[in-house]
Amino acid sequence: MKKNLCLTLCLFVLLSGTLTGVSYAADQPAQQVVESFLSTICSMEFPVKDQARHDELASKANQALDLEALGRKALTDHWGEATPAQQKEFLQQLWKLIEYVAYPKSRRFMGKYEITYPEVKEVSRGVEVHSVIKQEAQALDAKVIYHLYTKEGVWKIDDIILDDVSIIEDLQYQFDSIIKESQFPGLLQKMKERLDQAVKENGSAIR
């Protein structure tokens, strides 16, 4: 049943992608953007077997995220302290990490469970799409909130909140402790090491 659900979502995403292009226009309901984002992730395959297809899906999923805003917020003051070159490298690494760490984990996690969307709430700067990941086997429901706002007429997810703690806070905690220990280059090095490991685990063997 779960497989069927995922397949349906994937088909929906592919069709909607064909009809509307790869960006998530502001006239589209925010919940739909989230659903499309998640179904794109669920369509991915790890380890990557078809690199071209993976690139295509990753690019589409990435369209839903404002990773620059997310990364800047997570870095807090460290963003301003970094050189433009370091900032650029940081964002590149972050994109790749999302692609090879967050997406595979999300796919593994959400691919197994049913997701419902009980509420879409307007907040001061955009909307919050509330979702519940039903984990019946463990009698545990995970509540995930996606924060979206419109940027240049397109919906963008700039934070994901699980159990009241945002992904920005989690990243902030990690970035801060690494930078304190080994400065900004250390963070970049750590991100690179983690990415290398993730690519080994989830990347294409041909690549």
Binding site: L140, D170, F175, K190
Partner: protein
Amino acid sequence: MSQNTQEKLSFVQSQVRFICRNALGIVIVIAVMTAALMPAVQNLKLHANFLELLPKKHPSVVNLHKLLSHTGGTSFLIVVIESPDEATARIAAEKFSEKAASLKNVEYVDNRTNVPAFQNRKLLFLNLQSVQKLKKNIRDVIGYYRRQNNPFYMDLVTEKKPTVDTSSLELEEKVYKIGSFSAKEKNSYMQVVLLKPSYTVGDFVRSKTLFDDARAAFSDVKKELKYSATMGLTGPYKTRYDEYYTITHDLKWTGILATILLVLINLVAFRNFRSLIYAYLPLAVGILWTWAFTDLTIGYLNLITAFLAAILFGMGGDYTFHILVSFEEDLRLTGNVEKAIELTYRELWNPLWSSMWTTAVVFYAMIVSQFEGFRHFGIIAGVGIVISFLVVLYLQPSLIVLGEKYFPAKRKPVSKSWPVSRTGIYAVIIAGIIFSIFSVTRISHMKFNYDFRDLQAKDADAIQFNERIGNYFGVHLNPVVFMTPNRERATSLAVEINRHIHAHPESYMDFAAAITSHVPQHQEEKIKVLGEIGDIIEKRRPLLDKLDAGTRNQIAKLEEQLKPRSFGFEELPQGLVGQYEGKDGQISGVFVYPAHRILDGQNAKRFVKEARGLNLPKDVILAGEPVIYADILNLMERDTPIAIGLSTIVVFLLVLFHFKRIDHVLWVHAPLAIGGLWMVGLMALAHLKLNFFNMVIIPSILGVGIDNGIYIFDRYKERKRENFFKSMRKSIKGVILSSATNLAAFASLMCASHQGMASLGKLGFIGFTACLISSVFFVPALIEFFELKYSHLFKK
């Protein structure tokens, strides 16, 4: 012969005649007097309490008594219950407390680690920051597990699995550590129950009964326990009892050992049993009279004067052996008892009196000290020496007269003097100089051991328990108390002192607590934060339910403490309030705990000095046992140089009065000076330090060292036609025998289980050995060397 000398000789003659004519009468009179004094001797008790070592009117003593009169004392019998299982330790303490409350000599029981009012309120005793820290910790624990489940989480750092960590949380007041809030050690859970006895610390008979009853009660409790548990006793009631028991036990056994050694020495020296009676009966009578004097004047023996019997026995031996050796020799020469006694007394009268006065003066010099340990020692030993001397002077010849009349000994030929070669003399001098140089190098290394722990019985488990409790609770349980007129003053004073401690990280004070310190501050804020922690846990319940058993258990225990009611002064246990304010409520105490181990006297001194230096108003009074320890040490440090300096000057003048020539006086002092120097060298070799107990023996060494010089030099001076070693034949035998008596007494003390007593024995043995070798070998060799070189240097 001068008229003065003639008068003296006729006086000696008349005394000898009186003794010989009335020997039986003298013995009977002394026997009757001894019998009459026996009740006083039997009444003499040992007060094994440091409090007795300071004058009764000393401010520290007066203040401590004042504190005791209000609060009934800060002293408890502390019962320590331990088990590898936490619940077993707690149940054992509860059951024991119930049983102990009905024990005969117990006024009340205070189960300090299980105060009902504190149950479920433990987190209120943390400071507000720690309560907030705890909230963060719980968030972190939950956050960790949540992150593991977050599909978007990118694990860049390897996180350690966090635990519910209460170890880094800080109590609002350090005094809470003593109550129910101690840090737990792995595999060792300690519960402390305080028993307040209905009698004073010095009642050792009732203490013994209470200890036995407590042990029996715990044996009953143990039968009902699931896991093993042990019980230990400590606190002033136990440590004082142990000290008393150890000292009395040691005195008994070292006394027996000393007696055996003395009998052996006597038998070897005189080869007959009658000399045992001649030598030791007068000494025993002298000591009994001294004890009677002590009971009738001072009333008790203290921790220092308890060892005086051995010392007096040894020092009184000086007189008996010099008389006995000389008499034996003179009896061989004259063949007549009366003539032999006369000859002996004519020869020894002056040196005996001089020796007695120099020794007595050394002890009397100690009377200037305010330290009762020294002062009593000076009075008892000074008077004891005079009593022993007079008893020996009249009883010993009387016994000899009666003994030789009814059981005449076989006459022996006159003994020959020892031939001494020049090589021997040079060898002794060279060896002595080498050891003197070594000893000089050791002077700067001499140390005073301030640690009272090294002066207890070898297996003093009560002291070990006391230290373990301190380590377990993280508090040294030897506070001083500032008595203030009321609770408000006490509260503000505790705050003021804690502020001082905070501003001085090197402070010897750890923290201060008034009774109000036991009521936590900011309770409403803490209850709010604790409620928020409860909400966090409740919200994450499904996640937490999936965690491992250990973490779940930790959180479950924490939850028990998350809904406390606020806690008021009126809920404090009465026993606890009583400790601060007594039953009458006329004072309110501020307990100031030391930052370091108080059994180390240096710490005690610095701690008390800092407390006194707080410059508090006059109506705030400082009291407590650390104050007593510190004052004892301060007095000792102040008075010891004064006593030694004073006795040295007086002894010098007495010797000058006896010999009339400054060079002779210096030679008489030589055995003592060199013996003292060698004592330092021998102490270094034996790794022996001066301490609170053994320091008291130094004046005795001073007295005996001078005595040896007087006997030897006096005899040498009088024998104009004999060389030094020949003239010293009798003196040396007397000196060796009297020193051997002292050495036997000290050797027996060295076997004591009480380490303070054993160290006194060691120092006495080392000091007397050094003085003996110096006076019998080194100084005579030195004099003989100068005599050979400069012919009749001293006999012109």
